[in-house]
């Protein structure tokens, strides 16, 4: 046996994976060292898995050599979940991208976990079906990554998040055991809900290899509007007014003045540059009910003090509104060299308070913070625009982020609306959880993964 761990691991891996799918050159390793947080850590070796059996074998090799394993999809995550913090093996899941079955009777689709989120919807389109979770990265992100981070999206308010659509999973546990489980089976067991345990476990409890997802009929009609407000607090208040009128819109998004200006400068589609905030709202369903819901929504908006209401008259106008929202982060990122996107979520009723807090923090540190997000879910994305290469700035950003999260927790909120904890937010965990909360979760983790080899350094251990 060689003393070089890399050679040993490589030799054992090559017993069941052909050499072209084992990457060990520095040029390759660098490309598997990062995700959308821009943090990086070099893996020892990358395996590009093609089957569940291979993933299971990788886990056994890793246990034998006591090297860590980090599962990786498209690496579009925003909390560092797929970064190989302790080196070790990265399992690249992107080659496992087959859509295995579309079950039209039970409205379910079975996919391998490396399948790109958007391609599920492309495959479903001709059957008039949709898979509702739509994280902004859906063009690149994988289903496995979405489940591991429990990703949300624009349609979350009415349709829920990724976890709400997971019917069944095939998972490789840290010791290499393969388990398959579905919601129905869980019900007959009547006790442990393994699926819930695995959703949002950020690749620390097991490697997801296949998923059975619930799908929905595509709503026939959609109607959108843009409401202009003088300030962000007023707009946040309007969110509660809309819901209290008995309507759950499919999408209810908010953008502050900083974001509006950035988007307008980027897209030039006639957004109100002077507005303090705008709300973008969409209702969907069948024709009559959509009109009824839409009327209620517009009534609520007018009553809560909106200075102007623009209704999208046709599909292209509607598309324009949503292009504006989807461009928010992109447009903000053009303003300054560094963009720090945070993910803070409070109960919907406290949205106005969160917005207040962020504004105060922004003034206190003299930082530009664009604030936008899924208002209907109380999920905001305060985005700090700065230049992290300047040390003083980086320090200020660090303190501001910490204050944003403290404020979020104080308002009864949570550290992550949809991006996960990864390792970017590990240090904030004690803000939200007591030591006994953390302890029990750690015990579950160690039961499944006694050597702590699966995605170490993330979330708990």
């Amino acid at each position: 046996m060689s003393l070089n761990p890399k050679l040993n691991v490589k030799r054992d891996l090559s017993r069941f994976v052909e050499p072209s799918r084992i990457l060990a050159e520095p040029a390759d390793l660098i490309c598997y060292s990062y995700d959308a947080t821009r943090m990086e850590s070099m893996p020892l070796i990358v395996v590009r898995a093609r089957s569940t059996q291979e993933v299971s074998n990788v886990m056994r090799v890793a246990n034998n050599h006591r090297v860590s394993v980090t599962p990786r999809g498209a690496a579009t995550g925003l909390s560092g979940g797929s970064i190989p913090l302790k080196g070790g093996i990265v399992i690249d899941m992107t080659l496992m991208d087959r859509i295995l079955d579309i079950d039209l009777d039970n409205l379910r689709v079975t996919v391998e976990s490396g399948t790109v989120t958007n391609s599920v919807n492309v495959a479903l389109a001709r059957f008039g079906l949709i898979y509702p979770p739509d994280p902004s990265s859906h063009l690149a992100s994988t289903i496995g990554g979405n489940i591991a981070e429990n990703a949300g999206g624009l349609r979350g308010l009415k349709y829920g998040v990724t976890g709400d659509y997971v019917y069944g999973l095939e998972v490789v546990l840290p010791d290499g055991t393969v388990i398959k489980t579905t919601k129905d089976e869980q019900m007959s067991l009547g006790s442990f809900d393994l699926i819930r345990l695995l959703i949002g476990s950020e690749g620390t409890f097991g490697v997801i290899t296949k998923a059975v997802l619930d799908v929905r009929p595509d709503p026939v009609t959609r109607k959108s509007a843009l409401a202009v407000f003088d300030d962000l607090r007023q707009a946040s208040g309007s969110v509660n007014a809309i819901i209290s009128y008995g309507v759950i819109p499919a999408t209810l998004e908010i953008m502050d003045n900083v974001t509006i200006r950035a988007v307008e400068e980027f897209l030039k589609i006639g957004l109100p540059m002077e507005a303090g905030a705008i709300l973008l709202v969409e209702v969907d369903g069948d024709g009559d009910s959509v009109q009824w819901e839409f009327d209620r929504v517009t009534a609520a908006i007018k009553k809560s003090g909106s200075s102007d209401l623009k209704i999208a008259e046709d599909d292209s106008e509607r598309e324009n509104l949503w292009t504006a929202r989807r461009a928010a982060l992109s447009a903000l990122s053009r303003v300054k060299p560094s963009t720090i996107l945070e993910d803070a979520t409070v109960p919907r009723s406290r949205l106005a308070d969160l917005v207040n807090e962020v504004e105060m923090i922004s003034r206190k540190y003299g930082l530009i913070i664009g604030n936008f997000g899924h208002a209907g879910d109380g999920n905001m994305h305060p985005t700090i625009l700065t230049d992290l290469r300047i040390d003083a700035e980086a320090k200020k950003v660090e303190m501001a982020v910490e204050e944003i999260f403290s404020a979020t927790i104080k308002l009864g909120g949570t550290l992550s609306g949809e991006h996960g904890i990864g390792f970017a937010k590990v240090k904030f965990i004690p803000l939200e959880f007591t030591s006994s909360d953390i302890d029990v979760m750690r015990r579950i983790k160690l039961t499944l993964d006694p050597n702590n080899i699966l995605n170490p350094g993330k979330v708990l251990l």
């Binding site: 040029a27 959308a36 060299p337 290469r389």
Partner: protein, 435 residues
């Protein structure tokens, strides 16, 4: 590193720092789609460049190969939320690689001994034409001679395009003198039209002349230099460019018109954009639309689909003009194909150096062409035409590949000499009938 190629390292660092690593370019990259390898698309390439600049990684052959596995189709740039100029970063690092003497040997020799010399190009066109007519034209897919292709490092199933240098075919000796011209344009034909598809030149002269535009054809102007600059050989490029610039500036004209999307983009970005030439550059579709087609057009019973060349759509922002022209031709039914603006996989040298990836990318394009049900594929770039035509022949589909200006010419002059020329070059499918 103080410099990357001839660009200051700070400039490249700044450009690379704009990349948020969000991965949006992943879904845009045709090479990633086929290889699913992180190091083959923009986010990975930028990370490699950053690692080389910080000294974390050596600029080894391994890294160089990855950086050169690129179509330059710029889909990453148009998808990028942060506006990262990927092609500028890529060009600088390629220049660095060329400086090390690590350019692929074939490119090295072709750039040095062929591209700057029109005479050699023409000779190659003439000799190549003999070979083409003698046996390459009708070389069956199963002919044992194809094993020689393998020895030469060329895919065995390759279909050789109609190589030629045909002055008569091009019609450059008989450019009509237009009385009281509405405008005068220098026509820049480029290598693709000159040595493969001379019908494009013939049609451009014919169409523009019947629109009352005086065409000036400067024979001594050579390659625009796009493949050379894109490969990072700036010295050779500048040598070629400076020669061309003198000739462009020695003639009075209202502008330059190009029929090759890459040449058009190159002249616009690296000649006009740098203030070296005083004439604006237009694509043929822009000129046709600006001055308007003559009203007497003949009926063409074609089902046409249109392929967007990367450098025309994303490079020059021209997507609507060609479609408007196609739809204005009487009798033509236009069918939009799926993913019309995705790269065909040719990318100049790329299809020779990375044939496996190039043909995997093309497979999707030909599927889309086939599903559209069209019998004529129109495009605005000889490179795309060549690559698509090859894919069509390999599958033995009865479809004709035409340049936009050839289609317009057919509608203007019907069953004329052009059709004979197309048949002579084996470019016409059997089911095309012209009234």
């Amino acid at each position: 590193m103080n410099k990357v190629g001839s660009i200051s390292a700070d400039v490249i660092k700044e450009a690379a720092f704009k990349c948020m690593k969000c991965g949006t370019c992943q879904s845009a990259c045709p090479v990633y789609r086929e290889t699913k390898n992180e190091s083959f698309y923009a986010r990975g390439k930028i990370s490699l460049v950053e690692a080389v600049m910080t000294g974390k990684l050596k600029l080894s052959k391994d890294v160089e190969e990855r950086l050169f596995t690129c179509l330059e189709c710029r889909r990453c740039e148009s998808a990028c939320p942060s506006g990262v100029k990927v092609h500028e970063i890529s060009r600088a690092i390629k220049e660095e690689i060329v400086g090390k003497g690590d350019l692929l040997w074939v490119k090295k020799y072709l750039f040095k001994y062929l591209f700057p010399y029109n005479g050699r190009f023409r000779l190659l066109g003439k000799v190549g034409n003999l070979f083409y007519r003698w046996f390459l034209k009708d070389l069956s897919p199963r002919n044992p001679i194809r094993s020689v292709f393998g020895l030469l490092g060329v895919g065995k199933d390759r279909v050789v395009p109609p190589i030629s240098y045909d002055r008569e075919g091009m019609g450059i000796d008989k450019i009509p003198e237009v009385q009281n011209p509405r405008a005068t344009f220098i026509y820049f034909a480029g290598c693709g039209a000159t040595y493969l598809y001379y019908g494009i030149i013939r049609s451009t002269i014919s169409v523009l002349s019947s629109m009352g535009i005086q065409v000036i054809f400067i024979e001594d102007i050579g390659c625009c230099g796009a493949p050379i600059e894109a490969s990072g050989d700036l010295k050779t490029f500048e040598q070629i460019r400076d020669r061309n610039v003198k000739m462009f500036n020695s003639v009075r004209a209202d502008g330059i018109v190009a029929t090759c999307s890459t040449c058009g983009l190159q002249l616009k970005e690296s000649y006009y954009g740098k203030g070296l030439i005083d004439k604006q550059v237009f694509d043929i579709s822009q000129v046709i639309l600006k001055y308007g087609l003559p009203s007497e057009l003949k009926l063409l019973d074609f089902r046409v689909t249109y392929h967007d060349p990367c450098h025309l759509s994303r490079g020059l922002g021209i997507t609507k003009e060609p479609r408007d022209i196609i739809m204005s031709i009487p009798g033509v039914s236009f069918i939009e194909m799926f993913e019309a603006d995705s790269c065909c996989g040719c990318a100049g040298f790329f299809t020779a150096t990375h044939y496996l990836i190039a043909s995997a990318i093309r497979k999707r394009k030909i599927d889309n062409v086939q599903n559209s049900g069209a019998n004529v594929v129109v495009s605005g770039c000889p490179g795309c035409m060549m690559h698509i035509a090859e894919g069509i022949k390999q599958r033995d589909l009865k479809k004709t590949t035409l340049h936009l200006v050839e289609l317009v010419d057919m509608s203007l002059h019907g069953n004329g000499a052009l059709m004979k020329e197309l048949a002579k070059q084996a470019r016409l499918a059997d089911d095309i009938k012209v009234s």
